[in-house]
Every structure is written in C-alpha cells, then in structure tokens.
Point group: D2
Chain length 93, copies 4
C-alpha cells in the first residue's frame, strides 16, 4: 500500500507522462523529425522507469517486508516469485 | 517523414498509451496492489517500444535511405551517428 | 550465500557463457556477417540475464530475508537500497 | 565486413569480457556477496553493449550503405528488416 505522499508523487508523475505522450502526438501530427520523436519516446520510457522504481521500492518496504516477517514460507515464496516474474517477463534485469 | 497511414497508426497508438497511463493513475488512486501497477507500467513500456520500432523503421526507409543514396559522406555519417546516439544514450542496444 | 547446488549451476552457466564469447571471437576472426555476430552477442546477454535472475532470486531468499527478519530497520533499508541501486544504475527495471 | 583495426578492437574487447566472466566464476566459487556478483554481471552486460554498438555502427557504414546504394529495393528491405528483427527479438529498442 502507498502512503498518501507517495500516492500523490506517483499520480503527479503519471499526469506529467500523460502530457508528455500528448506532446508526442502533436509532434507526429506536425511532421516532426523521426529521431526527435524517438528521443521523446525514450524520455517517456525513462520517466516510466522512475515510476516503476518508486513502486518497487515501496513494495519492498511494505508488502514484501510484511510477507517475509510473517515467518510464513508460502508467503515469502509468493512475494519472491512475483518479483522474479515481473523481471523475467520483460527480459530486463 | 511519415506518410498519412503511418502517422494515423502512430497517433492511434499514442492515444491508446495516453489512456493506459490514465488507467494507471486511477489504479494508484484506488490503492491497487503495487505489483499490478508495475505490470501495467511494463505494458505501457512495451507499447512505447512498438511506437519506437515503427518510428525507427520508417526513419531507416526514408531519411536514412535518402541520406545514404545522396552519396554525400557527411550526410551518411550524420544519420549513422544519430542512430548510434539514440541507442547509446539509453544503454539499450 | 549460495548453496552448493546453486553455486554449481551458476558456475556451469558462466563457463558456457565464456565458451560462447570465445565462439564470437572466432566469428569475428573469420569475418562472419555483422548481424550474425550481433545475434550471438544478444544470446550471451540473455544467458547473463538468467545468471542475474538466479543470483537475485537467491539473494531475496537468503540475505534479504535474514535482513528483513532481523527486525532491524537499518538493515532492511540497506538491503532495499542495494536492490534499488543495482536496478537504477543500469536504467533497467 | 570489419576492417582489420575494428576486428582487432572487437577481439580485444571480447577477450577482456571472457576474462571478466572467468573472474565472476571465481567470485561464485569463493562465496562472494550476491549483490557484488550481480554488479559484475551488469558490468559484463555493459561491455557487451559496447561490442554490439561497434558491430551495428560498422554494419550501418558498410553492408547497409552498400545495400541501400544498390538502388535495389529488395536489398534495402532486407537490411532494414534485419535491423528491426534484432531489436524486436530482444524487446530492447
């Protein structure tokens, strides 16, 4: 679970990403140079990486900590498998 | 330069990405499970990869082809350097 | 800490990666087609991803579990920061 | 095709990567800390990225240039498709 500060941070970042994507739509409409479009797509990707990092960090500090402290090995295995699945699914570790 | 069909394809995909990002904002507001948020962020990243792929493919088929066919080595070096810069900047080749 | 089975698995995979890299050296010496070299480099990268995945999974199941179960928040912060640093450093989450 | 200078550069880098991988094998044998192993694997990945970058840059400057200058659209389509396939296959653009 995210506390209200982190929730607000994430929502602000996502709103800014949304605006950035809308900006890329305008670039496409106005025939911007392909490489400039590509650079902006990369910038959005990096902003999304930061959203993922905040979300994962929060997850480790809350749900994963609770699951591991429960001393319940089924729970521990569940959270570890879940983390590994996300990384393996995207081939990016 | 993108022809009008490819322009429309890109704009449609970007609009769908925009909606997807808005959906993630709602998930955060409604206290969704962190790992579910992370999975949706990954899905948006993959959709952006496809936008990058379409843009790069078009770039190779148009601007890069024109630059290389111009037989002007300065132009050729410029387009090759530009492609390499985009990949090196993000450490993803 | 890795148990002896996982140690052997990792060492076997690393030895196979070493052989694969040597194979790419031979391809370069024998003037293989650039795209074929690139494909083999990608295959090595994917094999390394699997080594990273095994290592991270083991880390979560051993050191991270011990640190979190210690109920020592300094320790917990240390392991979480360490995991986040590895991912942020490479911009790949 | 790589000229002899670039060939030597690539072979030197690949030999250094091979040595680096052997170093990681020793770390595993000597029970190094998982996160230190992970950092060295990342360093090898980055060295491989540079090998890929050199290879791709050479490919664009030689084979791709020749194919595109041939004014043969089948050839042009072949090299563009080949480049796109490598990137799509690994989901890393």
């Amino acid at each position: 679970m995210l506390d209200s500060d982190k929730k607000q941070t994430l929502i602000n970042r996502l709103k800014s990403i949304e605006g950035h994507v809308r900006g890329i739509e305008r670039m496409v409409e106005e025939d911007a140079y392909c490489m400039d479009i590509l650079k902006q797509v990369k910038a959005v990707q990096q902003a999304l990486e930061r959203v993922s990092a905040l979300t994962l960090e929060n997850h480790l500090n809350t749900c994963v900590t609770t699951a591991i402290r429960s001393e319940d090995d089924v729970e521990k295995t569940r959270v570890v498998t879940e983390i590994m699945d996300v990384f393996k699914a995207t081939g990016k570790l």
